[in-house]
């Protein structure tokens, strides 16, 4: 089977007897063995477990589909690293995270854990302990972070489906750099139980895939209230796969102007404009005080992150990735008044955005200001100014996840041959609309993945 076959193509082939789960898993494990030394996407491969599970798997919407998870998601028998050296000392997880269990209940087969930026405080995909996961479209470039291994593994055709987390953009940034479809659902939609936290009020889990249908089918399989996650909303399952082909008739879609165009590279602007054109969108909306929303997300992240890791910063500072440690120490020094005011502003911003969604159904914005930078690059030029790269890749993703809005990141090829992502942003709990729009863009060829030769 083509290594870039989509999850739903694989599942159909397994269900119809054209292949077997065991054959799919053997091919997947062989490809991981060949290419992981190049991409550095995996930190653990669960080959024995995968082969055992494949032997009995013939049915389900994801029958025989290999998948892997960012290594902050629990896998029974492995320590949950969250990209760190320190967590290697933790006892192995006693059980799989619920999202792993739910995907396996749908027939998918876990094949391993994926590299990530330490403690998810990262947009680069670099990791001081494991080395950087690499961009499958140019091995010298960043995969994006913090779910870098997820982007690298799906982009390189090692697995058709991966899970990541997104606190400020960590699904959408690697989706953009690696040219994939990524879904950051509404805050509270998917359970985060059995995952290592970063910023409780901003953390989301979600899937990466090479097709919109794969996103939808995996998302449907993972939905459902879970009281084990205090942030999980007690809502009924609202499946989306059945309505994907409904089109966009009657939907009001607009591009985000102002803040979301200032500073974007020509490639990022061209991608948003191409997506808008493919949808026939000419309207522009202004997201009020987006800059301040981004600053507030930044403050909540750095202060909560610092509080989470304070004891480790005191006792084991040398065991951190220096790039993460030094940001966390700075975060510990931010006045509490700023963190509280950020939470008040969050209420204001949420109310403004809900009001904005009275007049539009979806908003288009760049996912990243530029295509993937080079691994090791420390600065980039944004709006004519040279700025530190690590704290600024998320300028367009942070204001959106700040209030938990659902987003589908869609990949757009650029003239340079590297992909870049566009965010399709909808009102809370309207993942269905974002996915429908993404699907139409896929059908029209405006959003598409590339298949690198590796």
């Amino acid at each position: 089977m083509n290594p870039f076959a989509t999850a739903t193509e694989i599942a159909a082939a397994v269900r119809e007897g054209r292949t077997t789960s065991s054959a799919v898993i053997d091919a997947c494990l062989a490809r991981i063995e060949r290419l992981n030394p190049v991409l550095n996407a995996f930190t653990a491969v669960t080959a024995e477990r995968a082969r055992a599970r494949a032997a009995g798997t013939k049915t389900g919407p994801l029958a025989g589909v290999p998948f892997a998870v960012k290594n902050l998601i629990d896998i029974a028998g492995l320590p949950t690293l969250a990209g760190s050296r320190i967590n290697r000392d933790h006892p192995p997880a006693a059980a799989d995270a619920p999202l792993v269990t739910r995907l396996e209940a749908a027939g998918a087969i876990l094949v391993g854990a994926l590299n990530m930026g330490e403690y998810a405080y990262d947009f680069t995909g670099e990791n001081g302990h494991e080395g950087a996961s690499r961009n499958p479209h140019d091995l010298a470039r960043m995969s994006g972070g913090s779910s870098g291994g997820s982007g690298s593994a799906v982009g390189g055709g090692l697995v058709p489906l991966a899970l990541g987390s997104d606190t400020n953009g960590s699904i959408r940034v690697p989706s953009s750099f690696c040219g994939l479809f990524g879904l950051k659902p509404t805050y509270g939609r998917l359970t985060r139980a059995g995952s290592f936290p970063f910023v409780s009020s901003l953390d989301h889990l979600g899937p990466f895939a090479s097709s919109v249908t794969d996103l939808a089918v995996s998302y449907d399989a993972m939905q459902g209230y879970d009281p084990a996650d205090a942030g999980c909303a007690d809502r009924p399952v609202e499946t989306v796969s059945g309505g994907l082909e409904s089109g966009i008739g009657g939907l009001r879609i607009a591009s985000a102007g102002g803040y979301f165009r200032a500073g974007a590279s020509p490639e990022a602007l061209a991608a948003v404009d191409a997506i808008a054109s493919a949808l026939g969108v000419t309207n522009t909306v202004t997201i009020p005080q987006a800059q301040r929303a981004r600053s507030a997300a930044y403050i909540i992240t750095t202060t909560e992150g610092a509080a989470l890791h304070l004891d480790r910063l005191r006792t084991r500072p040398d065991d951190f990735d220096p790039d993460v440690r030094d940001r966390l120490i700075a975060g510990a020094l931010v006045p509490a008044a700023a963190a509280v005011q950020a939470q008040k502003f969050r209420r204001w911003f949420r109310d403004q955005m809900l009001h904005l969604f009275d007049s539009v159904d979806a908003i288009l914005a760049p996912a990243t200001p530029c295509v993937a930078p080079l691994i090791g690059q420390k600065t980039f030029v944004l709006d004519g100014k040279e700025l530190p790269l690590r704290p600024n890749i998320g300028i367009y993703t942070q204001p959106i996840s700040f209030i938990g809005l659902p987003v589908v990141a869609v990949p757009v090829p650029t003239a340079s041959g590297l992909p870049i992502g566009v965010q399709i942003i909808t009102a809370p709990w309207r993942e269905d609309l974002a996915l429908r729009i993404a699907r139409l863009l896929e059908v029209r060829g405006a959003a598409r993945t590339l298949q690198p030769e590796l």
Binding site: S295, I299, R314, A332, L333, A337, A338, P388
Partner: protein, 60 residues
């Protein structure tokens, strides 16, 4: 804020929190503190009503 003021902030804050900073970490911490304080300023200059509830309201 100038570097000496940031350094004084780092010294006092890390001492209060029990974090020991090695000299070679200081430049990066100073850069990140300056960025974070810039974002804090952006947030603190927001004009918000006294009665606005912070986002994570607790329900008993």
């Amino acid at each position: 804020m100038e570097d000496p003021a940031l350094d004084a902030w780092i010294d006092a804050g890390t001492a209060a929190l029990g974090i020991v900073v090695k000299p070679e970490w200081r430049q990066a911490i100073r850069m990140h503190l300056a960025i974070s304080l810039g974002h804090a300023e952006t947030v603190l200059t927001a004009e918000l009503p006294d009665h606005l509830d912070p986002a994570p309201v607790f329900r008993a």
